[in-house]
Amino acid sequence: MQFALMIYHTPEEFDMRKNDYSDPHLAAWRAYYKALVEAGVYVGANALEVPETGTTVRIKEGKRRVQDGPYADTKEQLAGFIILELPSVDAALEWAARCPGAARGAVEVRPLAPEAMRRGFTGE
C-alpha cells in the first residue's frame, strides 16, 4: 500500500532552505532518505520551490483567472512529498514522525488512491 508524506514548511523553514544549504538540516534529511531506502520502503520523492514562485490558475465562467502565489493562503505551505510503500497507516505515521520536517512544520500522511482510480486517470 502506498502513502504520500506531504511535508509542510513554515516560512522560517523555507528561508533556511534558501540561505543555508550546507547546514546540518540537510544532513538530517540525507540520513532520513538513507533510512527509508535501507528499510526498503522508499518509492519516490520530490521537493518544491518556495511558495512565492507558485502561480495559481482557475477557469471561472469561461475566463482565465491567474493569481500570484500558492493555492492555499496558509502560513505553512507544501514543500515536498515522499511516496512510501508500507503495510499500514501505522507504519506510515511512524515514518512521518521520524521525518525531519515533522519537528519544524508538519507532515500529512495520506494513502494514494487505489490503482483502479489511477488507471481511470491514465486510461491504461
Partner: protein, 410 residues
Amino acid sequence: MNEVGQEDTHRTIERVARESYGRLVAYLSVDTHDLASAEDALSNALVSALNHWPQDGVPKNPEAWLLTAARHSLIDVIRHQKVVLESQPTLKFLTEDSTETTLSTQFPDERLKLMFVCAHPAIDPAMHTPLMLQTVLGLDAARIAQAFLIAPKTMGQRLFRAKTKIRSGGIPFEIPQESDLPERLDAVLEAIYAAFGIGWDDMAGADQRGRDLAEEALWLARVLLQLMPGEAEVQGLLALILHCEARRSARRGPDGHYVPLSEQNPKQWSLPLMEEAERHLTEALKPGRVGRFQLEAAIQSVHAERARSGRTDWAAIVLFYEQLLRISPALGTRAGYAAVVAEAHGPEQAIAVLDAIALDDVSGYQPYWAVRAHLLQRLGKTREAADAYDRAIGLAEDPAVREFLLRKRG
C-alpha cells in the same frame, strides 16, 4: 458561590475524578463486563457533578455521590438499549438499594481485576496499554492516540472494538489462578512499562512518546503495588520507573539538548525518588524470586550509585545484563548489553555482541544503530561510523536526539 470557591470545586472534581475513575469504572463493570457503558455512565456523573457541586457544595463523600449518579445513569443507558431488564442479572446489581453501599465509603476495589482484563491474552497486546490508560486512569482516546502515534479516530475505534470483545467475548473479570498468575501478571507489568516508554533505557534512542506518559505509568505502578503488595516484580517495576524518573531533568541541557546518561550530572538526579526506588528494590529482592523488572531496576540502581561514589561499576551492570538476557533476550536488552560491554571490556567485544544480532531484526531499530555508531567511532572506523550514525539519525524521532547524533557524527 464566589469564583474562587467555584475554582476550588472544579479542582476537587478533577482530583476526585482522577483518584476514583478506575475504582468506579471497575466496580461498575465488574458484573456487566460492559466497560463502555460504565465509562459513559461515569462521565455523565462527572458532568452532573460539575453542574451540582458548585451550587450545592462538594458532598461529604464525593466518590459515593459519583457512584450513585453513575448507577442511575447506567440504568438509563441499559433501558435505552431496550434490554429485557428482568432477565439481566446486572439489573439486580444496579437497582438493589444502593444507598447502603454508597453511604459507607467502602465498596470493593476491583481495579486489579480490571487490569487483568485489559492485559488479557485474548486482547490484542498492542491494545493492553491503551485500554489500561483509559479504563483505569480515564485518559481520553485523543491523548492516548498522541502517545501511540495513531490517529485519534483510529484509536477510538480500536478501544471500542477491544471493549466490545471484553463485553461479548467472555473475558472473565477475575484475578488469575496461582498457576496462570506469573504469565498474566507479566502482561500487566508489560503494559505499564510500555506506557512508561521503552526509550528510557538511557541509550541515544530516548522515545519522545514515552515521556508524556511517564507520570501515568508511575501512577499505574503505584496502584498495582497497592493492590498486590509484596509481589516482587511489581515492586521491581516501580523501582525501575522511579530510578528513571529521578533522572528526568538531567536528561536535557539548559537549551534542551540531549544529555546521555554518562554525561549527566548526578547532582541533578532526584534524591528522594532514588531513595524511594532503592527501598522498593531492597524489598523486592528479599524473597529471592528474581525477575526481569528487578534486574532492570538493579541495573539502574548501579547507575544511581554514581551519585554517591562518583563512578560506575560496569562489571556489575554486565552481570545483571547477562541474567536479564537469559530471561528476556529482547532487542533492546541486547543493544543495551553491547553498550555496557563496551564500557567494561572495550568496543571490540561489544561489536561482537551486536554482530550476533540478525540484520533483518534491526533495520528499523534506532538504538542499535546509535550504539553501533558510537562503538565504531571509538574503534576509529570513521567511515563505517558515519554510515551507522546516518542510520541512527534517519530513524530518530526526537529532534534533540537527532541533533545530538548529528553533532557526534561530525
